[in-house]
């Protein structure tokens, strides 16, 4: 349990933040003690990110008071927050892709200057990476643009925990494991616990409820810009968390195709990873939801891209029967068109069907977008609003709508639920099941084991090859982890 001696490291009272008419924070109170890990959960749009940005000094609160280690802060800013030892790991990766890992460390530390700063920066980040993620294999002189997304997240986390001349008192981790596989996520959470025992304070924001339940001392549930519940982590369980957040906990629906049905429906996709010469091929039949599992970055995305490129008729050993659509996982860089409206973002994949002569018929475009807005429940007053006015989860829904509104018979999903709230996930799972029942085929790469329960058939990847081929009935988390770590051969 957390020691409660002395004044809390952070104390917020009555903090409000308004964006125009929207009250993102509605007078929240929050205390974090020294050596305490506070788990922060809530729907997308509950105000977690705003709260974090206020704490980090990036956003100025409209009203309310911030006290750090007992002293009231009058002129709160990003610089001041860093001086008082508050660090953030932001959900959108905040590394500069054009710089090396060591140079990115320099960006965070004004003290890393003068003669030999490159060597000192490299040493600092390499030591921290070794400490948190033993066996990470990241070179400090590598440009970040050449690193895979999970390694970028490892650098991001390690960088936030490096110390030069400024103290480190509180770390805010916003979805720190969203791009990490189970193994590295475990390394990170174990390290975090060790640091908490040693006196560091942590705010852990995560949509993976198990992670929060297992690794926090106390859990605060946010809803509509307020802290609606705060209690010891042991007093919560999954069902209570979901209830407090305002969602409902539903078990995975047991509507999967029985194993015997497999093989009777026509084959829509048959593909082998490029690095694999023999062994099992990925096969997806009409109306199936096929899961691609395994550690992050082991060739799942590459295979999805190869299938996408081979569509609609197949090419180079990959059989594809029908048009495909792709739902990107990294929505900021691969998914949304930030300058466009929600409607335009949805209809992009269906423009051929919306043509009237050489032009796009605006009425039909709007009709299609509105139909899918209702169908998939995108929360916005007007579908003509810019896509960036939506919360992250709703942006992801728009990307689903783009794929589902199209003529695609095969939907490729590249870990699309990264950083999406529970409510949205459950809604999307339902839609996937309905669409699969209508005869669509889903190829679903996911890093969350829970999501595999929604698949009819699972292929586990390891080092760019398929190492296991599991029917839904055989699926257990243990089996997936086992196959993920076994050597291919």
């Amino acid at each position: 349990m957390a020691p409660s001696s002395g004044s809390p490291i952070v104390s917020l009272s009555g903090v409000e933040k308004h964006f125009g008419a929207v009250r993102a924070l509605a007078g929240i109170d929050l205390q974090v003690a020294r050596g305490e890990c506070v788990g922060l959960v809530g729907h997308n749009g509950a105000g977690k990110s705003t709260l974090m940005n206020v704490l980090a000094g990036v956003l100025a609160p409209t009203r309310g008071r911030i006290a750090i280690a007992g002293s009231l802060e009058e002129d709160w800013s990003a610089r001041r927050a860093r001086m008082r030892g508050i660090r953030c790991v932001f959900q959108e990766l905040s590394l500069c892709p054009n710089l090396t890992v060591a140079e990115n460390t320099r960006v965070l530390h004004a003290a890393l200057k003068g003669f030999g700063w490159r060597r000192r920066a490299a040493r600092l980040i390499a030591d921290k990476l070794d400490e948190i993620f033993p066996g990470h294999g990241i070179s400090p002189s590598a440009p970040v643009q050449d690193l895979s997304i999970d390694r970028r997240q490892m650098v991001e986390v390690a960088r936030a925990l490096t110390v030069t001349d400024e103290p480190l008192a509180l770390v805010i981790l916003d979805e720190p494991t969203s791009s990490l596989d189970a193994h590295t996520a475990g390394q990170l959470l174990a390290y975090m616990r060790r640091q908490v025992e040693a006196g560091l304070s942590v705010i852990l924001i995560s949509h993976m409820l198990g992670e929060v339940l297992d690794h926090s001392d106390r859990i605060v549930v946010m809803r509509d810009g307020l802290a609606v519940a705060s209690d010891a982590a042991t007093a919560f369980d999954r069902a209570r968390l979901v209830r407090e957040m305002g969602g409902e906990d539903r078990a995975a629906p047991d509507t999967a195709v029985p194993a015997s049905a497999r093989g009777q429906a026509p084959v829509r996709v048959r593909a082998r990873p490029a690095r694999q010469s023999g062994g099992p091929a990925l096969v997806a039949h009409k109306g199936e939801v096929v899961g691609l599992a395994g550690l992050a970055g082991h060739g799942q995305t590459a295979l999805l891209r190869a299938i996408h490129d081979a569509a609609p008729r197949g090419r180079g050993g990959i059989t594809v029967d029908g048009p495909v659509a792709f739902v990107a996982g990294d929505r900021q860089s691969d998914g949304v068109f930030p300058q466009w409206s929600i409607a335009r973002n949805i209809t992009l994949r269906s423009l051929k069907a919306l043509k009237q002569g050489p032009l796009i018929a605006p009425a039909r475009e709007r009709e299609l977008a509105e139909a899918w807005q209702t169908r998939i429940a995108i929360r916005t007053p007007d579908i003509g609003n810019p896509i960036l006015s939506l919360s992250g989860g709703n942006q992801q829904k728009a990307l689903f709508a783009r794929a589902l509104a199209s003529d695609a018979a095969i939907i490729l999903m590249d870990d699309p639920m990264r950083g999406v709230d529970v409510g949205t996930k459950l809604e999307v799972y339902d839609i996937i099941r309905q669409e699969a029942a209508n005869g669509r085929t889903f190829l679903w790469y996911t890093t969350e084991t829970e999501e595999l329960m929604h698949c009819d058939h699972i292929y586990v990847f390891r080092d760019g090859t398929i190492v296991a081929d599991l029917a839904r009935g055989d699926l257990t988390e243990e089996k997936v982890i086992q196959s993920s770590f076994q050597e291919a051969g």
Partner: protein, 317 residues
Amino acid sequence: MERALALKPDLALLARKLLPAFSLLLVVAAIAWLNPRAISYLGFNLMLNLAIPIILATLAQMFVMAGNDLDLSIGAFVGFVGCVAATWLNEAPLLGAAVLFGSILVYAGLGALIHWRNLPSIVVTLGMSFVWQGLAILVLPDPGGAAPEWLMAAMGFAPPFVPFPILAAILIAAATHFGLMRTSYGAILRASGGNAAAVARAGWSLLRIRMTLFGLAGLFGVLSGLSLIGITTSGDANIGAGYTLLSIAGVILGGGEFVGGRVSPTGAVMGALTLALAASSLLTFLQVPPDWQIAANGAILILVLAARVLIGRGKAA
């Protein structure tokens, strides 16, 4: 504690870095094949006669591009500097120096304006290109004037063994490489092009970064204009007309990119050298008639840039 920091040479990165050197070697090899006598002390001095101002203008453009901006006024600015150098700097050195220094401050001010009002840099600098050209015509309505003696002496410097333009190119490349790629603030300058929001969140002033980058562009623009006048010995308001596009092409040819803070000073210097050689010497040796040289110049530019895109794509795949 000594530890091997896994210095695995990254092949893609290596190819990206070597491409500018490769294209420069290709042009030099072509010239050597067409006219072996050109590869000599005198030959390089003649061929690279105008290389130094092009290099400096390219580096000015590179600083602006490091922050994801584009400077469409650098050519007109070089012309303006040339006119000031050929008149006021010669007749009233103090006034001339003050005007040149002031113009660097104007450049930094443009950076501030672009940042503060969130304006597109191409619009602002396109407008400024007319301002600089107008000022240049006011200062020197007709081609003429005279460069200061010291400037001509400096540009006429003849070191032993190594032709001056090559020596200057190496020194300029080394200095800017150190400044932008090796110093700690240089990393911050490049970071602003890579992820401006993250740089701001880490507590750095984006305003100061923009002003620094534009101020450096102004400084190198002034140096470019001065060196140009030192070579041509007299001024002309339109003397830098081709420099804007040449500088952008030089940065791109040198491995830089329009967005993302991906620039390389050594690459930009090599890109500028390649263009300087390909633009006149190579075409003359190929016996392209003067009427066709500008068109042929454009064709070479397209070819070289297309090759860069193709090779870059091949490496990525």
